[in-house]
Symmetry: C2
Amino acid sequence: MTSPPSTRDRLLDAFSELLVAAGSRGATLDAVAASAGVSKGGLLYHFGTKDALVDGLLERFRRMAGEDARDMRTAPAGATEYYLRTSVIQQGDPLSRTAVAVLHLAQGGDPRAADAFTAATEEWRTAIEEEVGDRVLSRVVQLVGDGLWAGSSIGVAPDDLDDVVAGVAAVLAAARAPRHAGPPA
Amino acid sequence: MTSPPSTRDRLLDAFSELLVAAGSRGATLDAVAASAGVSKGGLLYHFGTKDALVDGLLERFRRMAGEDARDMRTAPAGATEYYLRTSVIQQGDPLSRTAVAVLHLAQGGDPRAADAFTAATEEWRTAIEEEVGDRVLSRVVQLVGDGLWAGSSIGVAPDDLDDVVAGVAAVLAAARAPRHAGPPA
DNA sequence: GTCTATAACTTGATAGAC
DNA sequence: GTCTATCAAGTTATAGAC
């Protein structure tokens, strides 16, 4: 049974949605409070400062990212495909929304957000490396996912996600079963 | 001989630097004017509104991106390697700085910036496709570059760029020579 | 072409009522 | 736990001097 979200949770939801939609510039306390359906005073009861609101979102992100890294390892389609598909913002997917929100905070110059994002990224890459068995290949897969993300973060939804997923899979298969393609110089 | 930059150019330089360093939140008219060494009134003589300042930067970005797409096609190392290496922000590289500045504007919700960025991205991808000869592979290469960018945009400099470039090259070679040996032309 | 002064509005935060 | 009223600082923009 899912109980209705607390005001605190609704405020964090609104904050992340505004960050995704309008960047750190548009995610003001006024806008967050209005979007969550409370007054600014109501917001400031739960989060005394804007920094506290950021901390609340980062804490939620760390928890969700940790759970996601576990999900990757048990995903039926495999960690790589799971990662690429969840790198595109899905309507209503809480993790990808939260991750892009944190990315925007990091790009706004917040070092706590940059640290949290870097740490999560390394967790995900590790899960990919366990599957593909090679560090550099895991980096390439991850960078493809990050690229999908960067597009999502400006509202560009790829129209060829299936092609990309299939292309990466084909490329990984080719790289792991080398015939005589010749090593790079 | 390079003539000293005009006040107009110095203002656009300062605007893009501030966008990269602090996001759209920190790039205020006050900060831009101070960073360029003029008063706010001086700034507003050249760009009557903040929107005009954004337009000036987007115009500069479109010009630089067009020149870069031409440079890619004649790069000695090839378009792919050129693109990946220039996807990492270099200290003092005007294009990568400008591109990240535009990315931040797009993430702040400016549709003109998102359009300009999308158009440039498609130009670059086309140049890559001309080299690798396959649309999906060109997308994969480009997404790796975008991923490097996303990292750069939050101040994370990759410590394994050479590995990634070599890894992509190896993976492309494997994908393009699945049946027999032979270096690409 | 650049400056100072200032107006109009927004933003983050406080105080206190209910 | 939530609201309204209020404030100081910051932000965009205008007006006019030099």
